[in-house]
Amino acid sequence: MNALSPHRDKILSASHLLGIEGLSPPEISRLLDLADTYVELSLQINKKQDTLRGRTQINVFFENSTRTQSSFELAGKRLGADVMNMSVKGSSVSKGETLVDTAITLNAMHPDLLVIRHSSAGACELLAQKVDCAVVNAGDGSHEHPTQALLDALTIRRRKGRLQGLTVAICGDILHSRVARSNILLLHTMGARVRVVAPTTLLPPDADRLGVEVFTDFEAGIADCDIVMMLRLQLERMNGAFVPSTREYYRFFGLNREKLKIAKPDALVMHPGPMNRGVEIASAVADGVQSVIKEQVEMGVAVRMAVLDALSRNLPGGANA
């Protein structure tokens, strides 16, 4: 499959990317294949394409995220779209306008692609019901963050050559993490063995029903893993709320060089960022040879280009409309 080909194959059956839930293995593989081609493009001197020329992409971030927002902005611009970032803080949106009214306002501007980040689970689904364009979920509450799971999968696949049969340990605040949910769904769908590793206070109820193995002992959880994926622990969840203190958390659930030896010798260390060094991960590991954290950021732009491209093919006037 070649993204540069004038004939553009259909990649996704749905018109939005609201989550990993509902994506089939072939859809995920096609998205990752397309993203592979965009990794190559990003290494060229001329990084620009006109796939999305004439298309308008609006990034609406109800929750601040410099990394994800700039990644989406760069992805849209490299594909030739007109990209607008709507700042939400201090606007009518934060002054009590309902999300549905916001959706109606945005829709009247005739965007082709809406990229939404919101602190509430289900916000993107609510918006998607009320607009005519393609909606990309850039993170909704504790629900899903599909492009993060896709970029993690791309990183793993490029390093390990496959996803199927790998053992992946997702460690840390699973309860509040949309990254964990999307990764669990994607890796499970693609045939990897998924473990979640956390103190019980940071595990969601009935976590085992998601098709994962649950560990509350860190060492046992990462033993013989191919991938150790660390999650960020939000500051407000430390200090007695969910765990007693950061130092206790680091002692029992932080990843350092010693503990990493329990995983497979060629295990990859991942983190969606931003990291709390010395809380969930030691600097020596974060910057060590097994870390692919910088690659994840690189893959992020390629994956988002693939997602925007794939969705634009399903738009009116797109290749598969």
């Binding site: 999300l99 509430s120 289900g122 916000a123 509450g141 949910r181 109820p205 009935d206």
Partner: protein
Amino acid sequence: MMVPAGLSPGHIGTVCYVNARLFDPGQDLDVKGGIRVTNGIINSLGPKITAKSRPANEQIVDCKGRLLLPGLVDMRVFAGEPGFEYKETLATATESAAAGGVTTIITMPNTDPVIDDAALVDFVLRRARDTGIVRVAPMAALTKGLAGHEMTEFGLLREAGAVAVTDGIQSVANARVLRRAMAYARDFGLPIVQHVEDADLALNGVMNEGELSTRLGLPGIPSMAELIVLERDLRLVELTGANYHASQISSRAAVEATRTAKKNGLPVTCGVSINHLSLNENDIGSYRTFFKLSPPLRSEEDRKALVEGVEDGTIDVIVSGHDPENPDTKRLTFDEAAFGAIGLETLLAAAHGLHLNENIPMETLITAMTRTPARILGLEAGALTEGAPADFSLFDEKIAWAVEEWGLKSKSNNTPFEDRLMQGRVVRTVVAGQTAYELDAQ
């Protein structure tokens, strides 16, 4: 016993409702016949009252063989007034009630200002009398300002017309406060009605805790939040002998705890909303906020346990839980949206649906919406007997209808039965002998 306020003097004159199926399980009544109403009171009823038997000068209504039911008594209604008139008023709430065959609504004190003073009880009763078309009996706050600390003036509230005390949407968390309130309320014969949910365990929760909340990424409320408060309260009833009613239970565990308590002879009663009997957490689907309720809709297993609880009498009362919310509080993301659903107008049809789908006898369902709530609150209502107020409805089991979002009488549109097909509909409601609602007149 007291007749709920409103609607005096009622209809003057005599009307005969003939050719009906008189159905009042509270009186073991299920017979073809008629009912003769004089000056707002049931003068006589039975098979002998027919079109031929009446004197020629009397008005006659042919019921065409439909069910003639005692007017329902709905023990949990948020009427919006005072303070939230844009969501609902006593006028519109009573119109909704009339359209649903409910002839007495029990209003909750969670208004602005809170109904925690005799003057405010009086206000509600006067507004109901002046603007309402069914009877209104208010519950007053159990603690001042619903703050959970100091008990309200139970004696004065009772004199003013309050039928029970409750903090409505929240539990009284402090066991010492509740114990004293129970003991004191008992002296005045005032029932204590409790929302059974531990606020700390439920904090930030928006739906049932379990696999579905995990999948949706929404914070959950465990069933234990309900059971813990219920079990504590049952101990306090043991201590005080209070007249205690758990407003709505939602879980299998709470059904079992209540069943055991009743077996042990404790004077407790409990209710369930029609929503929790008819729906479960899966109806939330993709974050549909009309299904965001307090207590939350729980699993299908819990729902089945609630149905069993109604069947075997563990659960005494079925309520609509009518709680109007507007688009500004519902067209939000699931965690930001308000709790609650309207239900007065769909209560009877949904209960009839339970009869058809779950084989719960109509006798059981109707008793739980008429005689039992009237008995708990000491109201002369919900019965077809000679000398009783002429409050009843005609229900046509054959009419199928679809619930439309803005097709109901409420000022708000948050019905969880939107787009559902209902079997059976109220075609006429009579309060104090006056027709308060007529379907054909729409």
